[in-house]
């Protein structure tokens, strides 16, 4: 989301706690305070508010409240959570893949290790997209053209150079046996503008989220060359994976929650269980379907392992690309 988008969503909601009437649950949590590191209206904001809504309506939590705190690419909220850790035992902060990338880049001094990772709850694969009239029929064609002359392939994305879209493009090219450093990455300030750039014909391909691409593909405006999943996705069985086209790499952009450092193991287990149980509720299904999110539960220790794996992979790549 660009500068103007990161905006005020609901002042009233941010100031006053939204209290829903609990329905049924054996052992509801008293209170969860969601800390959102960006302004209202963005992806983080939607995830936190959607999760809070589902948990409260399903009766798993008695009261939920939300707080937006933007600044420093999310660093402000992280610092705040660490500083107030003693009092913030009921706080869950939403975050996503950029916490790993930005911490490596040194945008903020902390990393996920300074917090208590709770769970990754939703995810989105990345995808390579071309205009419907493009002469690149599949990913192999794209990677071959790239190998022949990297300068002839301009790959766009909706984030800055060295950001997620750029790294994914480099990662896939590397897996395809090409030079990741030569990627001619064209940054746009938002995903929508990058898509407009693709349709205007100034870039050959777009590195973007699969969720954003599939809707436009259904309208017949763009073709998805490949998706960064290991196996074909159930909701898009006709879309090939990068894996099967010679780029053995998997990438998923997750969104999940972190608690303050030093919370008790029981408290942490309680949050993990609450989020895991949320998957079964119709309330979550409503929120999930409304937003087109993909369930990928990754809780407790698994989440920490995953974060460490992703960090290692990103670090190698970013070092190779010269961003570190």
């Amino acid at each position: 989301m660009n500068k103007s988008t990161r905006n005020f969503l609901a002042a009233s909601a941010a100031i006053s706690a939204m209290i829903f009437a609990p329905a049924v649950s054996a052992n509801p949590i008293e209170e969860i305070h969601f800390l959102i590191p960006g302004g209202p209206g963005g992806g983080w904001d939607g995830t936190a508010r959607g999760t809070g809504e589902a948990l409260a309506k399903a009766g798993a939590v008695k009261s939920v409240s939300f707080e937006n705190m933007s600044g420093g690419g999310g660093g402000k909220a992280i610092a705040h959570l660490i500083e107030t850790a003693d009092k913030a035992k009921t706080t869950l902060m939403v975050n996503s893949t950029p916490i790993v990338i930005r911490s490596l880049q040194g945008v903020f001094p902390q990393s996920f290790r300074d917090l208590t990772p709770v769970a990754g709850i939703i995810g989105d694969y990345a995808a390579f997209v071309v205009h419907k009239g493009s002469d690149l029929a599949d990913f192999t064609a794209l990677s071959n053209k790239y190998k022949a002359d990297p300068k002839s392939v301009a790959i766009g994305g909706g984030s800055v150079a060295g950001g997620m879209d750029h790294l994914v493009a480099a990662m896939v090219m590397k897996a395809a046996g090409a030079d990741p450093k030569a990627v001619k990455y064209i940054p746009y300030d938002a995903g929508g503008k990058a898509m407009a750039g693709l349709l205007s014909g100034e870039i050959s391909a777009l590195s973007t989220g699969f969720g954003e691409a599939i809707d436009l593909a259904k309208q017949g405006e763009v073709n998805i060359l490949c998706v960064t999943a290991k196996e074909r996705l159930a909701e898009a069985p006709d879309t090939p994976t990068c894996y099967e086209q010679g780029a053995a790499v998997e990438f998923v952009n997750w969104r999940g929650f972190f608690a303050a450092p030093g919370i008790s193991d029981e408290k942490k287990a309680e949050y993990v269980a609450a989020l895991e149980d949320m998957y079964e509720t119709p309330e979550w299904e409503t929120v999930r379907a409304r937003n087109g999110w993909v369930n990928i539960f990754n809780g407790g220790e698994d989440f920490v392992d995953f974060l460490e794996y992703q960090e290692g992979e990103m670090k190698t790549l970013m070092t190779e690309l010269g961003f570190l």
Partner: protein, 511 residues
Amino acid sequence: MLEGILQGLTTAVTPINLLMVIAGCMVGTFIGMLPGLGPISAIALMIPITYGLEPSTGLILMAGVYYGAIFGGSTSSILINAPGVAGTVATAFDGYPMAKKGHAGKALAIAAYSSFSGGTIAAVLLLVAAPSLASISLTFQSTDYFALMVLGLTAVAAFAGKGNVIKAILMTVLGLMISTIGTDQTQGIQRFTMGVPDLIDGISFLLLAMAAFALSEALMVVLRPKSDADRVKEMNAQSNLGSLKLSKEEVKEMVPVISRSSILGFFVGVLPGAGATIASFLAYGMEQRLAGKEKGKLFGTGSVRGLAAPETANNAACSGSFVPLLTLGIPGSGTTAIMLGALISYGIQPGPRLYLDNPTVFWSVIISMYIGNVVLLILNLPLIPYIAKILSIPSTILTPLILFFSLIGVYFVSFNTFDIHLMVLFAVAAVGLRLLDFPLAPMLLGYILGGMMEDNLRRALLINNDSWSFIYERPLTLTILVIAAMTLVLPYIISKASIWFINRVEKNMAK
């Protein structure tokens, strides 16, 4: 297509949808009037409500809020120099001076008529050509956007009218410099953030505009208290504060301005990489050029044209931005991005097939825009005399209120206290600059166009492997740049040529 339009018409005039247009316009106008709070805030507030509604109804409500907020944003620009929305910053250039002269009611009326005309003409254009306009949104590439921003920057001359060209240029450069603060897009490195994490995302345009205009204005009032004689003079000037009367002369002046600005605004709005703010600046600059020497000098001092042009253009652009949203599924602004999200949550995917697959949604939204503009006019005109009276509040009460709402407004966008500190800092600097007679509008122009100009230029260079050849290879880019060069050079040549011509004629006469 006609069948679809009729279907849309019947949907748009159902009682519930009419109610939603009215409700949306009212809520939007109110939120837009609050300094700093714009359509994004307003629409985001509406989203939870729209979940329970039919897709057309929900979208009609959101669209109503959207142009209601743009409409309302002009009110705070005109009355207290505090733009409610980025798109109405240019409205303050002439609207505020006009209000200060005691013509607040007239200024608000001009804004209302301009908004109405801009919105209506754009809605007609949408109705006639929406599906086929999609290709226009896609003709512009980064090189063309770069050229468009250069053309926009020539508008700086519009601010030099009051005398000092050098000062106007210096302030534009200052704006360009401020726009470089933050993370550099093409290399991902931080520039001029001085290790302050809050500067990583750059400085928001609205913050800068509010600090430079609303806050510094309020501080000036404190710095330069009015003498009793001034106060009496002001009281007299305010006697017909609420009057909406426009002279025949003024109406005559407005008509061509409005028709030109609405078409310009609409097409700039259609471009996903431009938007209402750019449209208002371009229209302002264009009209200043076209106004001629005498009338052009009045820009910035309360000119009727200078107020009508940006107000028309921003509303037209607002409607224009629905073209890429509905026909391509591409949001050109933060507001339309939120609306896209809402559409998708209804299970409706905007794109080239929308008007075939969901004709009711497509056409009813467009028709509701037409209705919405009428509603806004009916709603606002009778209220103007009362709203204008805000200015007769003694400054001992009004000034603290302006300070309060400006600071709160900016805080509610980011929820970051750093923004408040930064705003006060900028406001103090702005007071210093004003005391030295530096105009602040060119700084905002440089800031908003400079950032986009740089991003697009560097994108163009990246794509073109660092070659500048696109300047002459792309006809569209070249055309826009030539127009930009002409707007700078032509007035000079014409005045020189006419002097030369007159001299020659005089010589001949002498013979």
